[in-house]
Amino acid sequence: MSDVWVLLEHSDGTTTKVAHQLLTGARAIAAETGGQVVALFIGKGWATAKERIAKFGAAKALVAESDEIGGYVASPQVEITARLIAEKQPWGVLFASVPTGKEVATRVAARNGLGVLADAVNVTVQDGKPVCEYSAFGGSTLVKKTLKQGPYLICVKPNSFVAEESPAEVAEETVDASISEDSKRVVLKERVEKEAGGRPAVESAAIIISGGRGLGEPANFSVIEGLADQLGAAVGASRAAVDAGWYPHSNQVGQTGKTVSPQLYIAVGISGAIQHRAGMQTSKTIVAINKDAEAPIFQMVDFGVVGDLFDVVPKLTEEISKRKGGA
């Protein structure tokens, strides 16, 4: 088969940006495989999801709607996805390369005896097979991999594709949403949410402003938060800043934090150690602000400012605010 499926990431039908990016990427892939883009919806809130994804060109949707599924972790998605793949044999399935997406993909692979590739930053097609690009060894190496046999299971990192609208009529097919007792083994007891900071999450944000030890003290994170809010960006942090207790680990970028590839990454007061670069080197555009012209981060920037962040960042924030107002 030649269809390209996308497992939709959503919360009660509110599909995420990553889901829209994957649908967009799937269109280019499907153009090569000669198939259709098929959205795979599992959970509740299909009506909401349908409206949202129609904008991003899904020709078809497989809909496993059920209220029960949300009470369990990952396994229902695994069971339903594995069952549908076995039955319909698509060309492949794209998953968001985030913890849940990868967990579902790898378990589907193990269950159906398929291969899986994680952390792809781009996917193209050659001779009908996927070519997945990803970065290795702290981002210094570009690796291209393929899977020997389909259906191909591929986890694609957020922001690898840029979401583009292309409205389509979604043909929907209702599929079996029942799950076995085995899929009910991991129960979601309680969801604990910190008060929403109003900023996007680091793992999927299109723009990230990260702060490091150069900020000097925790209160100074407000300097980069101000810039982040002007740009609608997430706030990240280096490990030095996290270890010092200035910012939560959930925002840490790097080898032992999140690996991100936003459209724009601005490193402020971060030296650019290899373990930090490992987490952000695939960013589309990289900007650094650092007072040390010799800082390793400058070796990998598109735009670098050698200067004191306490001078540059507030002025930049104001400048952006002015330009936005004047535009």
Partner: protein
């Protein structure tokens, strides 16, 4: 109630050291670099030791890899306080991908009777985080992944699973496979006594045959993915550097961001 805990650990190249790919087979040339116990696995070991201290029981380290895996990763885990280890070592395992590693580890786990199988949620080298869920799948066990605060009660285990916005409290029955997230705890440093004691702790070495591993499912033969090419990432960065000595760098940066349509 005593807990029988297995912890899967792997050795990874020290990221501070330089890495090389083996040109002949496009795998990481692991002999060329310094290796350490995967840092997240130290946290899995710590979590296991804490569970043992609170509940009694035994902690068994399981590691798959060449000889040096034993010297580095297993020894470190034993010197932290684990009781014994099983080392799966066989040339036919070389080249295994994540699915194959998970399958091979599952065969080793099946030889014991474990209440919990702990893993690091992701390794610092492969970073795929594919192994723990695939291991759970091979064992047909429930999986709590990317978690910390692991607690056991009579027959169940609960933990906090990291989410974008906070955490989910998740629960399942034992036995279960648990992927411990980075930052779950502060791993203890091996004491001198621990390091000495580790030298006498039992390490059982298994071949693929011993673990009843189907050789067609592992190594290069079993790999479902293949490397097409690898190379240095072309430096495609613009590398525009401006100095703020005039105090106007923010204007130039704003121009740049506007050109790139970020403003």
């Amino acid at each position: 109630m005593p807990l029988n805990i297995a912890v899967c650990v792997k050795r990874v190249p020290d990221t501070a050291a330089e890495k090389k790919l083996d040109e002949s087979d496009k795998t990481l040339d692991r002999e060329s670099v310094e290796s350490i116990l995967n840092p997240v696995d130290e946290m899995a070991v710590e979590e296991a030791l804490k569970l043992k201290e609170a509940n009694e029981g035994e902690v068994t380290i399981i590691s798959m890899g060449p000889e040096a895996a034993q010297a580095q990763a297993i020894r470190k885990a034993l010197s932290m306080g684990a009781d014994k280890a099983v080392h799966l070592k066989d040339d036919i395992l070389h080249g295994s991908d994540a699915q194959a590693v998970a399958y091979a580890l599952s065969q080793v786990v099946k030889k014991g009777e474990y209440d919990l199988v702990l893993c690091g949620a992701e390794s610092t080298d492969a970073r795929t985080s594919l192994v723990p869920p695939a291991l759970a799948e091979n064992l047909n066990l429930p999986n709590l992944n990317f978690v910390k605060n692991v607690e056991v009660s009579d027959s169940s285990v609960t933990a906090h699973r990291e989410t974008d916005k906070g955490h989910d409290i998740v629960e399942c029955q034992r036995p279960a496979v648990i992927g411990v997230v980075w930052g779950a705890n502060e791993p203890r440093y091996p004491s001198f006594k621990g390091i000495m004691a580790a030298k006498n702790k039992p390490v059982e070495t298994l071949t693929a045959d011993d673990a009843e591993i189907d050789s067609s499912k592992v190594g290069f033969a079993g790999a479902k993915s293949e490397v097409l090419e690898f190379g240095a990432r072309p430096a495609e960065r613009k590398k525009i550097i401006v100095d703020n000595s005039n105090g106007d760098a923010h204007v130039k940066l704003a121009d740049f961001l506007q050109e790139q349509k970020f403003i």
